[in-house]
């Protein structure tokens, strides 16, 4: 029995395929682009190819994410909240809070002891606190997002940048550069700003130890470092592939619901 989960986000789409023992057979990440339906088809096909199986082998497939409703071949659709919670708790059973920082949105989810989502908070209206924020800031500092993270770790001086609005923050970066502040210090301030923004979502759901980071930005060492410094004493779990946690959760829920029916 094979189960699949597909997460269609606004920036990227992921598919995860697992077997009945919850082992990951394959996964794939593509950019969503302007056509979510095509992206879904591309993503599932790539994952199937990697696992060397065909579509008919799949017992149950669950779609999640912003584009879940238009995935044509799903059995069911589930919200990304439940999927991220399930995926994170599977990878790290001590998870009680999930912080997901995606390309264009971020969310905080609180879990109970069974790993079920009981409260959540989403920010999908504003670029501040998302991957987009870092992209824009990296551009302003003439570098890549990964390098921005590395720069921030070398900071020596503490600066403050607005965490409310990306547009504001960008012109603050320009002024700071004009005042001869170093790119390292500015990068650190930016990572603190995104961490603050995300943490204010998390505090609203009363964040509890341990925290698992998901979403593409979970790979960014600058953000991880900033979050760690703002949550002293807390365990912060980072999955090896933080981007696929939503799709993994969807696949696991596909397995759960098939077992209930069996």
């Amino acid at each position: 029995m094979i189960f699949a989960g597909i997460d269609i986000g606004s920036v990227s789409s992921e598919t995860v395929i697992i077997d009945k023992n919850k082992k990951i057979l394959s996964y794939d990440v593509v950019r969503t682009g302007s056509n979510s339906k095509k992206a879904a088809e591309k993503s599932i096909q790539a994952a199937l190819n990697k696992a060397n199986i065909s579509f008919e082998d799949i017992t149950n497939l669950i779609a999640t994410g912003y584009g879940r409703k238009i995935v044509p071949f799903k059995s069911e659709e589930i919200s990304e909240i439940s999927c991220h919670a399930r995926g994170a708790h599977f990878l790290f059973p001590n998870t009680r809070t999930v912080i997901d920082i995606g390309g264009q949105d971020s969310k905080a989810i609180r879990l109970n002891e069974n790993g079920e989502a009981v409260d959540f908070n989403m920010n999908d209206k504003c670029a501040a606190g998302t991957g987009r924020f870092l992209e824009e800031m990296a551009k302003a500092l003439d570098t890549s997002v990964e390098h921005l993270g590395k720069l921030s770790l070398r900071s020596k001086k503490s600066l403050v940048i607005s965490s409310m609005c990306t547009v504001f923050a960008e012109s603050e970066v320009v002024s700071l550069l004009a005042e001869n502040e170093t790119r390292e210090d500015i990068a650190k301030a930016l990572h603190n700003a995104i961490a603050d923004r995300v943490l204010s979502l998390a505090h609203k759901v009363r964040l509890v130890n341990a925290v698992t980071l998901t979403g593409g930005v979970g790979k960014n060492i600058g953000v991880v470092d900033a979050l760690k410094s703002k949550l002293p004493g807390m365990t912060i779990n980072i999955p090896e592939e933080p981007q696929i946690v939503g799709a993994l959760g969807a696949a696991l829920i596909a397995l759960d619901s098939a077992n209930i029916n069996a």
Partner: protein, 416 residues
């Protein structure tokens, strides 16, 4: 020695030291100005040192307060030290979990600092409920800030018949609760004494502020801001003595200063960066219609009338009134009076994001100032932001346009 300041040309001097200041590039050729700066620095240092000592060995309980309509005299009359709480421009993360995100920045920062534990030294807190946001702050403060005594001081709105009764009842309520919690009692004589002390502070601060009507103010807006803030947190008697002594030593010069004179009005603003940003551009802030400015210290309590009645009257009628109390018609005339007294070239109207009273007042104020041909700039900031490139650009552009309007104002004045 008569020296004149002409535009941006350097002053020719012989044996006077020239001090070029980093901000505003005001050039002074007089020893007096240098001495003033030194005296003010010393004054601030002395008062701050005294405050630190007081906080270390408290000789009286301390009650925090947070709006200029809260009657300090009442607190003082109980033998308790009033201490204004102003928040701090730090990043906000904790307070959003207790208040909603779209609430005025300084209210958020008050709660944020309380949650961080900055106000553990307070024995009590009085929140002046001037706006909807502060009423909600009280609900959160009561449950999460951990101050042993909490009171919401209800401030009426609009000037109408019943407003005096409402304010008096608020005072009664406050007095009852302080008595119940602290056990102290007030008497008519302790009230009268408190009134005298607070009035003296007001007289001294007003005198200091009026020095800035002068063409070349002997005290800068940053110094005035710092002194005013100190007045709100210091032992008043000590502060009064020191300030009185300072005032006898400040010297005025007759050096001409052609920097544009700005009136700053609007939301709560206690951080120097806005003043600095304005003064970078050949402008001086000579008057602040803010609660860290005129709204704190103008208007005396009548010392010859029954104390509670006198206090009520002063707080309701003090000018300039805040937009949280009155509407534009009761503010506009006084602002216009200030503009004439201080010879203002332009008004900077500063609004904190989400600060409703000023957001709502703005269209009417704009109409009023336009009708009087007074240039105005509206800027909106967040309380916690440090560098504001966008704001600085606007301020610079605004001040550059003043050279066209300064002369128009003279025309209007000439023609009456």
């Amino acid at each position: 020695m008569q020296k004149t300041w002409v535009g941006e040309e350097k002053i020719k001097t012989e044996d006077l030291r020239i001090k070029i200041r980093k901000r505003g590039e005001r050039m002074s050729g007089a020893i007096e100005l240098v001495q003033n700066e030194y005296l003010i620095k010393e004054f601030i240092k002395t008062v701050k040192k005294r405050n630190e000592q007081f906080l270390k060995n408290k000789t009286s309980p301390i009650i925090g307060w947070c709006n200029t309509y809260v009657p300090e005299e009442i607190i003082l009359a109980f033998g308790i030290t009033p201490y204004r709480i102003m928040g701090a421009p730090t990043s906000i993360s904790l307070s959003k979990a207790y208040l909603c995100g779209n609430i005025s920045g300084n209210v958020q920062s008050l709660l944020e600092c309380a949650l961080r534990g900055d106000y553990k030294f307070l024995d009590g807190m009085i929140i002046g409920a001037s706006t909807d946001a502060t009423k909600k702050l009280f609900d959160a403060w009561l449950r999460y800030a951990g101050t042993p005594f909490n009171h919401l001081f209800d401030i009426p709105k609009f000037i109408y018949e019943g407003v005096y009764k409402h304010y008096r009842e608020s005072i009664n309520s406050l007095v009852e609760e302080i008595e119940a919690h602290f056990g102290n009692k007030i008497t008519e004589s302790s009230l009268k004494e408190a009134i005298l002390v607070c009035n003296k502070t007001r007289v001294l601060l007003t005198a200091l502020s009026n020095l800035r009507k002068d063409n070349n103010p002997p005290i800068s807006s940053l110094e005035m801001l710092e002194i005013c803030k100190l007045a709100m947190v210091s032992d008043k008697r000590f502060f009064n003595n020191e300030l009185e002594s300072l005032l006898t030593k400040i010297k005025i010069t007759d050096i001409k200063n052609s920097a544009y004179r700005i009136l700053l009005t609007g939301s709560f603003q206690d951080q120097p960066w806005l003043l600095e940003s304005i003064e970078e551009n050949n402008a001086l802030v000579v008057c602040e219609d803010l609660c860290t400015g005129l709204r704190y210290y103008t208007g005396l309590v009548d010392e010859d009338v029954e104390p509670i009645e006198a206090i009520t009257k002063r707080y309701i009628e003090k000018k300039p009134p805040s937009a949280t109390l009155v509407s534009i018609d009761q503010r506009a005339d006084f602002i216009f009076k200030l503009i004439n007294e201080f010879k203002i070239d332009g008004v900077v109207y500063h609004i904190l994001k989400f600060d409703d009273p000023y957001l709502f007042e703005f269209p009417d104020m704009k109409e009023f100032l336009e009708s009087k041909f007074i240039p105005m700039l509206r800027i909106e900031t967040e309380y916690t932001t440090s560098t504001m490139g966008q704001v600085k650009t606007r301020l610079q552009a605004f001040i550059e346009t003043l050279k066209f309007t300064k002369y128009r104002k003279i025309e209007v004045d000439k023609n009456g």
